[in-house]
């Protein structure tokens, strides 16, 4: 068993109205940011789990998404698995 950090990114499905994204986009515009083409707002769910390997971690995460974490009618999800306890800071 090793520990994995699973990052689930849940975003509103394309075509679905994203009022929150729209609001942020509008606010960025009013703050004077030009060149902002689009803004979408979704959820980030970071799960740390014990699993037998990356593959298993990913498989379980996908199942969690389908069952609970995302609603297929309105949301898409993407999963990223990393072996570290904490994701690398990419700043």
């Amino acid at each position: 068993m090793s520990r994995f950090t699973v990052e689930v990114r849940v975003t509103p499905r394309p075509g679905l109205l994203d009022p929150e994204g729209k609001a942020v986009q509008h606010a960025l515009g009013s703050l004077g940011y030009e060149g902002v083409v689009s803004t979408r707002v979704g959820k980030l769910i970071v799960v740390e789990m014990e699993a037998d390997g990356e593959k298993e971690a990913r498989a379980r995460a996908e199942e969690m998404c389908r069952k609970l974490l995302a609603n297929p009618v309105t949301q898409d999800f993407r999963i990223r698995v990393s072996a570290q306890a904490e994701g690398v800071d990419e700043r």
């Binding site: 679905l16 109205l17 009022p19 929150e20 609603n71």
Partner: protein, 234 residues
Amino acid sequence: MKIAVITFPGSNCDHDCYRALKLLDGVTPEFRWHRDTSLGDVAAVILPGGFSYGDYLRAGAIARFSPIMDAVVEFAEAGGPVVGICNGFQVLCEAGLLPGALVRNESLRFQSHPVHIRVETTRTPFTSEYEEGQVLRIPIAHGEGNYHAEPEVLAELEGTDRIVFRYSTADGKLTPEANPNGSAHHIAGIVNEHRNVLGMMPHPERAVEELLGPTDGRGLFQSLRNHLTAGATT
């Protein structure tokens, strides 16, 4: 006859539903706890409003896995009448008993005020006491009541007379201002294919006593009672 009101840990309209049912002759409301596994001998089920599990993640997403929900699904599939109000509607969608989903209000704000809704069909066990086109005054109180479904699903709901209530103006017009949350096709309530499962965002249980304002919600509970008594005598 008994009607079950389901209490999830974060339900907060369970007592209000109970009280509205209590006002009906011949009906005995009973609470069922979310951890119960059986409904017992009840004629109908109400999923009340509230924040079943804090509405974290998505409203209703966690509640649908409550132990009692298996019994509710079974009951619904056997044709038993089920009404989900507000959070109850959200739970029914998450549980797959009704199509579509309820997403955040377009305003991004919680909306709590009386609205007008137009009765679109009386061909349900829940609306027989109303007239088609009748406009009701009923409160809403929700942050995620914006009904969304794929175009095919919406077309099917339209084509099969399954949209039960739509947000409208006082005189029954469907204007954008009359739609409080951005719902597709102004949808405030729908039924399933077999017409025994109703989900609606407005709160009829808050509109049954004169002291508190309009009483347009009564018809819904009376329709249900009449449906059940008719069923019991035939």
